[in-house]
């Protein structure tokens, strides 16, 4: 059994309206020193068997991320 942690974020350069909105909100709360806020998602899953990395890669490409506008990275803990 392996535990997988997957991080999905916007590709560099893609407009991130959510990040932009949060950045504006933080600034309006007084955190004027904040910049470059980006929001992504974090996914955890457990998986059995071999070829874990290959399978997780496939999952990311097919479902967990949108490869056109998002990038992903993952860590496998055994």
């Amino acid at each position: 059994m392996a535990k997988v942690k997957i991080y999905v974020t916007h590709k560099k350069g893609i407009l991130d309206p959510q990040g932009k909105t949060v950045e504006t909100a933080l600034k309006s709360l007084g955190y004027k020193n904040v910049s470059d806020v980006h929001i992504g998602k974090y996914i955890e899953l457990e998986i059995e068997g071999r070829d874990v990395k290959q399978q997780v890669k496939e999952m990311c490409e097919k479902l967990l991320s949108n490869p056109i506008i998002e990038q992903y990275r993952f860590e496998v803990e055994t």
Partner: protein, 724 residues
């Protein structure tokens, strides 16, 4: 010396490059080269279509406004501005964002004229949805439309969806937007007054869609070609909503002399075209452009298609007024440059000149007349088609065909009520909108049967126009103006170019005869995938005037005992029909013939009868023919009908043939005399074919019973097809 490979990669030909050398008298800088490549691409300069687009009539029965980004018509004291645009290629690459930015782009085209957007329509084409990939594309597109449209607060009130494998590798997403303003409040897309300021407003510039414009619009799709995928544009509807309000407020101040949306080819297109339209020059420095990312190259800044941005020309000394308005709405606005004499666009990067081009030359794309080759017409022999034994089954199958079935599962995801003006809801022939404070209203529709156009481009395109007219007329509106979105394959292939040429000629001829101006539009070429070209699809968007909003009309049967009247004539025609495709698996033959004189009389009688106030329901006949139209009136009205038909030709053609120029009306029995008078006035024969009532749709032919089905069963087939 620029390598030929570089400018060819940008989509410029050797001859075009030579022309650029001639204009400048020197080698272009990389920024200049990129600017020429987009301005001269089909996306911006229409080099391969302009010749034929000139055929479109620019005047009609109502005063027409033509020549700016979005055109329109004038009625009463109001300018009604509308335009349709495609976002096909971006939607095929990334369905959700592609469709969403399509909606955002066309909305900006409308409000930059000073008009408040009041409605959007979406005309969509996908491959067969039994294929999961096509379904994925469709779901993404619909999600993008509902996301952007619902957030931005402009109702999505109508449109159409067709499915055919011709669109499997290249979906079509055509979005139309309608806006209104007082006619003297219109603003033009031009820079004026030497010394006036150029102001940039809205979102920051990032690397969105760089080269998307020239690369996407001029290269055919190959699915494996990951390299050509540019950075996808991502839209933000909440920013757009603020941009609408801030822009409309700015335009009311009277200090904005011109404004343009940064759409295709972003800053390049907006600055050079504003200058060219005003006969002036523009000067600015890229260091003043608000950027989202660091390290952007000058050509990237000039090409970026970041969404929700505007370029304004503001009277000198009044800049603060405008900047304050945008700031109030939470948007950035900065002065980037000024209007100058001499007709040059001069761009510097941190003081260092990087571009100096005559705008007239830049905005004047080459004009090409491409070779075309006539396609062979397909023929079918009705006599060789098997006659189906069980017509009930055929009707149920047709109602469940995705092309005819109710699109409720789709349009109920869209907010079609926001702004509270929608008075006849989507799902019928046309959607009717009231205009607050006016006795009149608007009806809007879009239409195109690509299969007809594939079989006969001239006739097919004409049918798209007259059917859009019939949709409006059946809602009680007088057709007033046309916008079009011309989706075709690769124009450099002579057989594809023939479709384009003939379809445009068809639209131009019929619009002239129907006294309809073509006020705006868009061309989308290169809609091809390895499987071949799409069906040629010149989508027609149309706006009509409902002179008395109280007399609007809708599709559902209203009251038991009402007479059902057929205007027009049934003919034995099966070519190109949905019946032929679904039941016989053939997409062949000639589309139904069009008798324009008959068509005009049918429309006049229908509209006059509705305006007099005797019509309770009206429905145009189209895909699926008479039987499908009757079924729709019954399903939507939740009441049956008994029908008796006299025509003696083959029964499948009578029930499911798609002969043009037909409308079914229902009237109270005592109004038959009034209707007869109106019909006589226009010398139109009509037929009382039955009566509303009961729980079944029963149709009898001259010899035997043809159809006998409970309305509930029809409704089940009609509503569940797209849900499943």
């Amino acid at each position: 010396m620029t390598e030929p490979q570089v400018y060819r990669e940008l989509g410029l030909t050797d001859a075009e490059y030579q022309r650029i050398l001639g204009i400048l008298g020197r080698e272009p800088s990389s920024t200049e080269l990129a600017m020429f490549s987009v301005e001269w691409s089909e996306h911006c300069g229409y080099p391969r279509s302009r010749k034929y687009l000139k055929l479109f009539p620019q005047t009609g029965k109502y005063q027409a406004l033509v020549g700016e980004d979005a055109g329109g018509i004038v009625y009463d004291d109001t300018a009604i501005i509308f335009k349709m645009e495609s976002h096909n290629h971006p939607s095929q690459v990334e369905p959700r964002e592609g469709a969403a930015t399509g909606v955002g782009g066309i909305i900006r085209d409308i409000f930059t004229s000073g008009a408040r957007p009041i409605a959007c329509l979406d005309s969509l084409r996908f491959g067969d949805i039994s294929n999961p990939f096509n379904k994925f594309i469709m779901n993404g597109v619909i999600d993008g439309i509902q996301f952007y449209g619902n957030c931005v607060g402009v109702p999505t009130v109508g449109g159409e969806i067709y499915f055919n494998n011709a669109y499997a590798g290249n979906c079509l997403v055509n979005v139309m937007c309608v806006g209104i303003c007082k006619k003297d409040e219109l603003v033009r897309a031009r820079a004026e007054g030497i010394g006036n300021s150029i102001i940039y407003a809205g979102s920051r510039t990032g690397r969105d869609g760089i080269g998307g414009c020239s690369v996407l619009a001029s290269a055919e799709f190959k699915c494996t070609d990951e390299e050509k995928r540019p950075t996808v544009q991502v839209g933000d509807p909440f920013t757009e909503k603020c941009l609408i309000e801030a822009t409309l407020e700015s335009l009311k101040t009277g200090v904005v002399t011109g404004i343009k949306d940064m759409g295709a080819a972003g800053l390049t297109c907006s600055s050079s075209e504003m200058a060219a339209a005003g006969g002036v020059g523009i000067e600015f420095d890229l260091k003043d452009i608000p950027l989202r990312e660091e390290g952007m190259e000058p050509y990237e800044i000039m090409m970026s298609e970041s969404q929700e941005r505007m370029l304004l020309c503001v009277k000198a000394g009044q800049e603060k007024k405008i900047i304050d308005i945008y700031t109030k709405w939470g948007l950035e606005a900065v002065k980037i440059g000024a209007v100058i004499e001499g007709g040059l666009i001069k761009i510097a990067n941190n003081g260092e000149p990087i571009c100096e081009v005559p705008v007239k030359e830049l905005a004047n794309a080459p004009l090409y007349d491409l070779p075309w080759e006539e396609n062979r017409k397909s023929k079918i022999d009705n006599r060789k088609l098997d006659k189906p034994k069980d017509l009930n089954k055929v009707l149920l199958k047709l109602l469940a065909s995705p092309n005819i079935a109710s699109k409720k599962a789709v349009f109920e995801q869209y907010d079609h009520m926001v702004q509270t003006n929608t008075s006849v809801y989507p799902g019928g022939d046309a959607t009717v909108l009231r205009i607050k404070g006016k006795p009149w209203g608007l009806a809007v529709t879009s239409d195109c049967n690509g299969r007809y156009v594939q079989l006969d481009p001239y006739l097919g395109a004409q049918i798209a126009v007259v059917e859009a007219c019939r949709n409006l007329v059946a809602s009680g509106a007088d057709p007033a103006g046309v916008t079009d979105c011309l989706n075709f394959g690769n124009p450099e292939k002579p057989d594809r170019y023939f479709y384009f040429k003939r379809a445009v000629e068809g639209i131009a001829d019929i619009c002239r005869q129907m006294e309809l101006p073509v006020v705006s539009g868009n061309v989308s070429f290169y809609n091809e995938s390895p499987q071949g070209a799409i069906f040629p699809t010149p989508t027609i968007g149309m706006v009509g005037i409902v002179k008395d909003i109280k007399k609007r009309c809708s599709v559902p049967f209203k009251d038991r005992g009402d007479l059902i009247v057929l205007l027009g004539k049934n003919k034995e025609e099966l070519g190109g029909s949905e019946y032929l495709s679904v039941i016989h698996g053939q997409e062949a033959g000639s589309p139904p013939e069009l008798d324009l004189e008959l068509e005009k009389r049918v429309q006049s009688v229908c509209l006059t009868a509705i305006e007099v106030g005797i019509v309770k329901s009206a429905h145009d006949l189209s895909e699926g023919g008479l039987a499908a139209a009757l079924a729709e009136c019954a399903i939507l009205g939740k009441m049956g009908a008994s029908i008796r038909l006299k025509d003696t030709f083959r029964e499948d053609a009578l029930l499911f043939g798609e002969s043009q120029s037909r409308i079914i009306l229902t009237i109270a029995p005592q109004d038959i005399f009034a209707l007869t008078d109106i019909a006589m006035l226009f010398a139109l024969p009509f037929e009382i074919i039955g009566k509303v009532g009961g729980k079944k749709l029963a149709v009898e032919g001259p010899k035997k019973k043809l159809l006998d089905l409970p309305v509930a069963k029809l409704a089940d087939a009609y509503f569940s097809a797209l849900r499943r």
